[in-house]
C-alpha cells in the first residue's frame, strides 16, 4: 500500500486530495477509509446515499468510492444526483459492489470505474489513483484557463 503510485506525492495534509467513501457496511466503510488515509488522502465517510448527497453538496471530492446496494438512497440514486447536479464528478466515481460486474451493469445504467467485492487493496488504490489524477488534471486545466 505504501509503495503504490501516487503515494507520498508531497501534498501537505490540508492540501491532500479529498475522498468520499460511501458504504452501509461499517467494516467496509472503515476499511476503505483506512486504506485511502494511508495513501495520503483525506477521507469523509457516508453510510448511505442520502448522507453521500449531503456531503457532495458541500465539498468537492477528488474521488467518490460508492457502494451500490444501500438503504434510503442507493448507489444508482447517488449517480443520478451527480448526473443532474455535478456531471463532472461522474468521472471521479469508483463503484464497488458485491454483485458481479454483469449483474451490476444490469442494475446500474452508468458507465463508471467498477471494482468487485471482495477486492484487492492494490486494485482499489489503482482505480482511486486514476480518479485523483483526473481530478488534479481537471483542476490544473481550469487553473490554466482562468488567468488569475
Amino acid at each position: 500500500v505504501d509503495s503504490l503510485p501516487g503515494a507520498g506525492r508531497g501534498t501537505s495534509l490540508t492540501g491532500a486530495p479529498l475522498a468520499l467513501v460511501v458504504d452501509d457496511d461499517l467494516a467496509i466503510r472503515l476499511l476503505v477509509t483506512r486504506i485511502l488515509e494511508r495513501r495520503g488522502l483525506r477521507v469523509d465517510a457516508a453510510c448511505d446515499g442520502v448522507e453521500a448527497v449531503e456531503r457532495i453538496a458541500s465539498a468537492a471530492y477528488s474521488v467518490i468510492v460508492l457502494d451500490l446496494m444501500m438503504p434510503r438512497l442507493d448507489g444508482t440514486g447517488v449517480m443520478k444526483y451527480l448526473a443532474q447536479y455535478h456531471p463532472a464528478q461522474l468521472e471521479l466515481v469508483v463503484v464497488m459492489s458485491a454483485y458481479g460486474a454483469a449483474a451490476a451493469d444490469r442494475m446500474f445504467p452508468f458507465r463508471t470505474r467498477f471494482i468487485e467485492k471482495p477486492f484487492e487493496v492494490a486494485t482499489l488504490l489503482r482505480e482511486v489513483g486514476l480518479c485523483v489524477d483526473a481530478a488534479s488534471r481537471a483542476a490544473t486545466e481550469q487553473g490554466d484557463e482562468s488567468p488569475s
Binding site: V1, D2, D24, D25, L26, A27, I28, L30, L31, V32, R34, I35, R38, M69, M70, P71, D74, S97, A98, Y99, G100, A103, K117, P118, F119, E120, V121
Partner: protein, 418 residues
C-alpha cells in the same frame, strides 16, 4: 389390499368384452367425475386412468368389469374397481417399482394411472386374475353425494351413446386442456427458477460483503507499519464480519432444514410471557446501536401454550430484529401479548418502512424481499423460517401494513393451552 370403506354406494358397473367397451368405460368415468364436481383436469385424469386399466383388462385378460362406487364418508371420494379373470401380472413388482421395460409399452398404463389418481391398489393372482382399485378424492367444494346426485348421474349415464367421432373430439379437447395446463406449470416453474436465480445472486452478494471486510483487513494488517490502534480496529472488523458470515450460512442451512421438513420441536408446557421476557433482556444490547423507542405491553396473568422454548425465542427474535432493521432512528417498536378466543396472540409493531400492498401477500414466501428490503441486506429467508416454525406450533402468523413509510405489524397466534 382394498380401498373400499364402509360408506360405499354403487354407481354403475360396465362390462368390458369388446374394444369399444373400454372407451365406454372412459366415457362413463368422465360423466361420473363431472357429476361429482371434479375439475375438468381431474375429470380427464380419472377417465384416462380408468380407460388405461380397462384397456389392460381387455388386451391381457380378454375382458373384465369396471365398477364405479361413490364413497360418502368424509372425505368423499370416487372409487373405481377394475377386475378381470386373466392370467395375472407376473412382473407387477417390477412395474410398480418403475423398472419394467416392455417393447409393447406394457406397464405404462399401471404406472401412469397410479400417478393420475390419489390412491391406487392392485391385487394380482397368477392364473386367477387382477383387481385394480383407483381412488380420487372429491374437491372440498364438491356437494355431498346424495341419492339425488346419484339419480341425476344415472340419467346422464343412460342418455349418452358411445359415438366414436364425438369421443375423438372429446379426447382432442382434453388434450388441449392438458397442453394448456402444461404451459401453465411451465410458466410457474420458470417464475420459480427466476426467484431462485435472484436468491442465488442475493446469497452471493451477502456472503461477499463480509468477505470483503475480512480479506481487505487481512491485507491491511499484513503491512509492516500498522499501528496498535489500527490493528485492534481491524481485528474487531474481521471478527464482526466473520460472525455475520457465519449467521448467513446458519440461515441458509436452517432454511434447507425447514424445506426438507427436518425441524422437530421439543414441546413442553410453558408460559409465553417468560419467553418474551428472556428475549427482551437479550434484545436491549442489540437495540442500543440505534436510537429507537422500544416498549412492551403484556396482559396480566400467564400466557400458557405448548411449545419449543428455543424455537419460540427464535421466532420472536427474528420478528423483533426485523422490526429494528426496517425502523429508522427515532422510530418506535412495540411488543404486545394478549389472550382471548382460545389463543395467545403476540404482536410486534413498528413505525418503520412498512410493506407495499404488492409485497404484503408474499412476505412469508422464501426468497421474497421487497426492492427496499434487499437494500438492507439479508437473504429473504427469515420470515419463511419463522412461518414454518409457527405452523409447527399449530399457530398462525399474519402481517399488516398501511403502506410504505407507515410501519408494519406482525401478529403471532398460538393455541391457548387448556
Amino acid at each position: 389390499v382394498s380401498l373400499v370403506t364402509s360408506h360405499t354406494l354403487p354407481i354403475v358397473t360396465v362390462l368390458v368384452r369388446q374394444s369399444k367397451d373400454w372407451i365406454g368405460a372412459r366415457q362413463r368415468a368422465q360423466i361420473i367425475a363431472a357429476s361429482l364436481g371434479f375439475s375438468l383436469q381431474d375429470q380427464t385424469r380419472t377417465s384416462t386412468a380408468v380407460s388405461e386399466i380397462a384397456r389392460n383388462a381387455f388386451e391381457y385378460a380378454q375382458g373384465g368389469k369396471v365398477e364405479f362406487l361413490a364413497e360418502t364418508g368424509m372425505p368423499q371420494s370416487l372409487l373405481v374397481r377394475i377386475s378381470d379373470q386373466g392370467p395375472g401380472i407376473v412382473e407387477l413388482d417390477l412395474i410398480l417399482a418403475g423398472r419394467y421395460r416392455s417393447p409393447h409399452g406394457m406397464g405404462i398404463g399401471i404406472t401412469g394411472s397410479r400417478t393420475l389418481m390419489d390412491e391406487f391398489a392392485v391385487d394380482t393372482r397368477i392364473g386367477k386374475g387382477t383387481t385394480v382399485e383407483l381412488r380420487k378424492f372429491l374437491p372440498r367444494s364438491a356437494p355431498r353425494i346424495t341419492p339425488e346426485v346419484l339419480g341425476a348421474m344415472a340419467t346422464a349415464l343412460s342418455r349418452r351413446p358411445v359415438d366414436p367421432l364425438e369421443e375423438a373430439q372429446h379426447y382432442n379437447q382434453e388434450l388441449l386442456l392438458t397442453l394448456e395446463e402444461l404451459n401453465r406449470v411451465n410458466r410457474e416453474l420458470q417464475a420459480a427458477n427466476e426467484t431462485k436465480d435472484l436468491f442465488l445472486a442475493t446469497v452471493s452478494h451477502e456472503l461477499r460483503t463480509p468477505m470483503t471486510a475480512i480479506l481487505g483487513w487481512l491485507q491491511m494488517l499484513a503491512l509492516p507499519t500498522v499501528g496498535e490502534s489500527m490493528r485492534a480496529e481491524g481485528m474487531k472488523a474481521i471478527e464482526s464480519a466473520a460472525r455475520v458470515q457465519a449467521r448467513l450460512v446458519e440461515d441458509v442451512l436452517e432454511a434447507a432444514k425447514v424445506q426438507s421438513g427436518k425441524v422437530h420441536l421439543e414441546l413442553t408446557d410453558l408460559d409465553l410471557r417468560e419467553v418474551i421476557e428472556s428475549m427482551w433482556s437479550a434484545l436491549l444490547p442489540a437495540v442500543s446501536a440505534k436510537s429507537l423507542l422500544i416498549g412492551k405491553s403484556i396482559a396480566d396473568g400467564a400466557l400458557p401454550i405448548r411449545g419449543d422454548r428455543t424455537r419460540l425465542q427464535q421466532i420472536l427474535w427474528n420478528l423483533v430484529t426485523n422490526a429494528i432493521k426496517f425502523t429508522p432512528e427515532q422510530g418506535t417498536i412495540t411488543v404486545s401479548a394478549t389472550t382471548g378466543g382460545g389463543h395467545v396472540s403476540v404482536a410486534v409493531t413498528d413505525s418503520g418502512e412498512g410493506i407495499t400492498e404488492e409485497l404484503l401477500p408474499h412476505v412469508f414466501e422464501r426468497f421474497r424481499q421487497g426492492e427496499n428490503s434487499r437494500k438492507h441486506g439479508g437473504l429473504g429467508l427469515g420470515l419463511a423460517i419463522v412461518t414454518h416454525l409457527v405452523e409447527l406450533h399449530g399457530g398462525t402468523i399474519s402481517a399488516t401494513s398501511e403502506g410504505p413509510g407507515k410501519g408494519a405489524c406482525f401478529t403471532l397466534r398460538f393455541p391457548l393451552r387448556a
